[in-house]
Structure formats: C-alpha cells, structure tokens
C-alpha cells in the first residue's frame, strides 16, 4: 500500500471561523495505480495532494506512506521522506530561477546522495528522455511552458520515487503539450510508477485507471475510469452525483 489515509481532515482558520478543506477523507492508493482526482474548484484537491505529498503536516487523522505512519512526523522527517520517496509536479512548474535546467533537475539527487557529478549525469539522462538534452545549460525562464513542465517532471523523477503526484500538471499547457505530458505519464504508469494526478481536464482524467472526485472536502466518487462518464459520477455534468447526497434522497 502506497498511501493509506483514514479519516483525514484539514481545516484552515478563517477569522473566528474555520474552513474545512478536507472532511474525513478515507482512501487507499496501491502501488502501480494511476489515479486521477477531479472535482470542482475549491473542492479540496490541492489540499489533499499537499497532505499526501507530506507538504502539509497540519491535518488530523491517520496517514501512512508505504506502511509507515506519517501523521505526527516532524517537518524534518517529512522532508526526508519527500526527498527520497515522492515526486511532485505543479501547475506552475516551480523551477528555480537561479539554477540552469540541468541543475534544477539534478538538485534533489545531489541533495539526497551528496554527489554532484552523479546527480548531473542522472539529470542529463532524464532530460534526454524528455527530449531536452540540448537545453541543459539554459536558464529555465527561457523555456516554453511545455518544456518547463517536462523539466519539472524530470526533476520529480530524479530520485526515482515510487510515486509521482501532479497538481494540474497541464493547467498551463496547450493541447499538444498536454498530450506530450500525458504520453510521459502513460509511459511512467506502464513502467510501474504510481501516479496521482489532479485535473479538471477530462482528457487528463480519463487517461488514469481510477478516478476520485472531491467535493466540499469529501470523496464523493471513487470509480474505475470506465464509469466516470456515467451521469451519476460525471464531475463535469451539472446533474452529476458529485453533489453530496441529500438527506432522504
């Protein structure tokens, strides 16, 4: 089991009140799964990804990563687990402006093993796979959006983590770059990597094998991808069952 979340809740203080972004979420992600998370804006998708990605330790409930309890770990322990075991890709790429493309990718590996040369060799290898072998020494700000996202994916993979988490990875990309990223995800999934991808985009969501829908902080749908377009589950239909079931309904 890669992730086991049981009764996980996360709320943010808002003035005197508090806003519940995750409300008693229970879910399991197994090794080698390809999971998409969909749902309306503000539904809690990013909040869930931050919790699963060990970026946010302020949740309540029980969370295990690869059968290790992670709730209650210190920020330092979470950072160490994240460095070696979790790759994260963001909508806005989040490349570091002060490093060139190769060092952006090499960075987590250099940090993990302390060997710069080895980290750079690994970065070059991954960038070649991403068809960016000719941009190694370039400034990341010079790249196109699609290229930046491929650099970010290479960086997320540099320590060969068992799982890749992606929050709207294609949100800033055009159709052809979206397809390129999806092809990479397909290859990764085939190679056995676990993928958890958040997206609004049906094209992205339907590439996964399993789809979760988050609504008001709750998992309202958890189905194989084949069923997601059924009207009761379809998160893009206004009549979908993604609304919380009404009492007595």
């Amino acid at each position: 089991m890669l992730f086991l979340a049981a009764h996980v809740s996360r709320s943010f203080p808002q003035g005197d009140d508090s806003l519940t972004a995750l409300d008693d979420v229970t879910l399991i992600v197994r090794e080698h799964e390809y999971v998409a998370i969909a749902g309306p804006s503000g539904g809690g998708k990013s909040t869930l990804l931050n919790v699963l990605g060990l970026l946010d330790g302020e949740f309540s409930g029980h969370l295990e990563f690869r059968n290790q309890k992670v709730h209650g770990l210190s920020a330092r322990e979470r950072a160490a687990l994240r460095l070696a075991g979790i790759g994260i890709v963001f909508q806005r790429f989040h490349l570091l402006p002060m490093l060139d493309v190769r060092d952006n990718v090499a960075l987590p590996n250099w940090r993990l093993h302390g060997a710069r040369r080895r980290a750079r060799a690994r970065a070059e290898e991954l960038l070649a796979q991403m068809k960016l072998g000719h941009r190694l020494r370039h400034d990341p700000s010079r790249l196109s959006g699609g290229e930046m996202q491929r650099v970010a994916i290479a960086r997320a993979l540099v320590n060969d983590p068992p799982v890749l988490l992606a929050d709207e990875p294609t949100g800033n990309l055009d159709a052809s770059n979206t397809r390129a990223v999806l092809r990479i995800f397909d290859e990764l999934a085939e190679a056995g990597r676990t993928l958890v991808v958040i997206s609004h985009n049906p094209e992205v969501v339907t590439r996964a094998k399993r789809v979760l829908v988050l609504h008001h902080g709750k998992v309202t749908v958890d189905v194989p991808v084949g069923q997601i377009m059924e009207p009761r589950f379809n998160p893009w239909s206004t009549l979908s069952g993604t609304q919380p079931p009404r009492e007595g309904a």
């Binding site: 931050n50 990605g53 970026l55 946010d56 920020a75 330092r76 950072a79 160490a80 994240r82 460095l83 070696a84 994260i88 963001f90 989040h94 490349l95 570091l96 402006p97 002060m98 490093l99 960075l107 987590p108 250099w110 940090r111 993990l112 302390g114 710069r116 960086r155």
Partner: protein, 394 residues
Amino acid sequence: MRLLVHLALRSLLRSRLAFGLLVAAVTAGVCFQIPNAANLAGYTEELLRQGMERMTGHLQVVARDGKAVEGVAAMLARLERQGGLRAVVPRLIHGGVAFKGSEHQPVRIQGIDPGAEERATGFCRRLGRGRCMRAEAGAAPEAVLGASLAARLKVGVGDRVKVLIPYQELGEVEHSSAYYRVSGVLEGGGAFTTDADLFLALPLLRRVVGAEDAASIVSIYLHDHAEAGRRAAELRPLLPRLEVKPWWEVSQFVASAIAGNRAIYGVSMAMVVAAVMIPVSALLFILVLHERRQIAILGALGFSRPALFGIYMWKAALVGLIGVGLGSALGYGLCRYFMLRPIFEFSGFVVRPALNLEVFAVPSLALFTVTLLSGLVPALRAARCEPAVGLRED
C-alpha cells in the same frame, strides 16, 4: 554542504544589486575600521615611544620626600645585577638661569650621563645640530640646549652661554656662575622633549651643586612597556626607602591619552558594528521575503528546515567572507597611504598606522561575526517557511 554553498552563491548572484550592496556594507565597515584601528594603535605606540621610551622611562625611582636620591652608584650596581632591564639612567635636575648677551631665561637644568642616555633613549643621535657634551673629567664645560631655549637665547652650536646655578651650602644659598660652550641643540619630540631644558654632563652638575652621588630621578627602561607593573613590584623590596613608579603614574598624560585611544576605538567599533549590522540584516531579511517562493520550492523538493537555514547562513557567510576580504585589502591600501601621509605630524611626534596582526584581525573577525549574526534572523525566517503555504504565493 557544497550543495548549500552552491545554492547560496547562485541565489546571491541572481540578485546582484542586493549582493553588491551587502558586500559593500561589510567592505566599507572593514576598510574603515582597519586603518582606524591601525592609526589609533600607531598613536598609542608613538605616545609610549615619545612619552617614556624617550623621556620618563618605564619605571622611575624617586625619593619619598621629593628630595634627591642618594647613594646612586650602589643602587645602579644593585639594579645591574637584576637583569632584564634595558637601561638604568640617573638624572639630576636643578633650577638655574641662562644668559646670553642681554637675553636671559630661567631654565630647568638636567645633569645626564650622555653614554647611558644614548643607550636608553638615543639622546645624542636625536640632536638636531652639533653633538653630545663631553663628560670626561677635565673636558671643557659643555651644554646641550633644547631647541626652543636655543632660539630664545639666539645661540647656536659653538656659542657660549653663561649659566647661573643656585645651590645650598651649610644652610646658605650660594650660586655658581660659569660659561658653557653649546655642543649641540636638541630638536623634535613634540610635547615630550624637554625643549626648553639645558643639559649638562652629570658629573659636572654634581660637582657644581656639591651632590657627588645624588640623582633626582633614576629612570629604568624595559624591553616591553607591558612589563612595567610586574617589574615595579619586583624592584620595590630592593629599594625600600625609595618610591618605584610605573610609567602610568609618572606620566598621567600618556596614560590617559592611551585610555582615551582605547575608548575611541571601542566607540568607533560599536558604530561600525551597528552600521554594518543594520543594513546587512535588513537586506538579508528582504531577500528572504523576496525569495519566499524559491524557499518553498526547495522545501517542497525535500530540503529540511536546517538545510534552508544553512543556505541562508551561507549567504551571510559568503557576504562576510567577500566583504572582509575586499575590506582588508582596501584597508591595507589606506594604511599604506597613511604611512606616506601621516594623519598627525608635529615636531617629531608622528602618528603612523601600526601594521600588526591585531589591527587587521580584530575588525575582520568582528565584522565577519556581525555579518553572520545579521544572517541569523533571516535564516531562521527562511527555515520557518511552510512549503504548502509558500507555493500558493506569487
């Protein structure tokens, strides 16, 4: 660690203006404080050199009742056996009047042993004109005049001056009146030379005033002025009826001028520390705020809080190292400049920067430490970053 240094340097190089200003602040502090420290140390050295190495000595032996010290020959022999004393110099001081033509001046007359005086203070070498007086028995009576006295009497080397010396004999005041040939004129030394004094050979003055084995003071010269206190304590039991004073009791002007120097140094150091610490910590803090997203990215990638803290401390350390390096080089250049153009020069009293390790090491280490301390709060702030929050910001 190399990774943290690499990230610190890359990130500094990305904000060149801020980096330049940070380095400039430290450089300015170091390159101000090094010549300042060197000049103050040079001033202290000159005070010590002029004030006691040339005149008072590091220790002075005087009689408790303010009269002359008797039995000087035996005392010199006893001190000789002590070892570790660079020179022991007896002086007999007497009042008198000097005449030349229609001019006359009341003078302080010092009877000195030219050989011992030369060994202790380089007295004969420092004469601006002429040579030292002869001290052998039977030599013609000669005198050395301080430069201002010579000027007032309008005499030069080779001229004769008449000197009247009163003394007591059997309770009556008598006086000697004789001609002395001016063998040399003593110049320079600023406030400390006895510019208005008249110097005679000690045996001659002793004979004139009838005090064969007496001295008004016996000055003792050491190899190191810092030994004065310890040496004074050692010598006191040997000279029970006499008073042994360390230089700071003899020359309170020198002592308080040196204390004043130390105070100026302390105050200027505090000002430089504040002048470096305030802009450096402010700039480093602004950089941390400015780079919140980058810090959050590093955190999200798995950099722990100590690692983020380390990156920002390394930034401060790099700024400190470069600033101190540049500041020391510029400070050394300024010191060379002040060697050629001293900040103070008057009548042989010259303040030149003292180029020793301390004047470089103390400001450099202090300002490097200050730069590190200035990095502390910004680095703690960087380490406190929550990646999940930082990544939401733009």
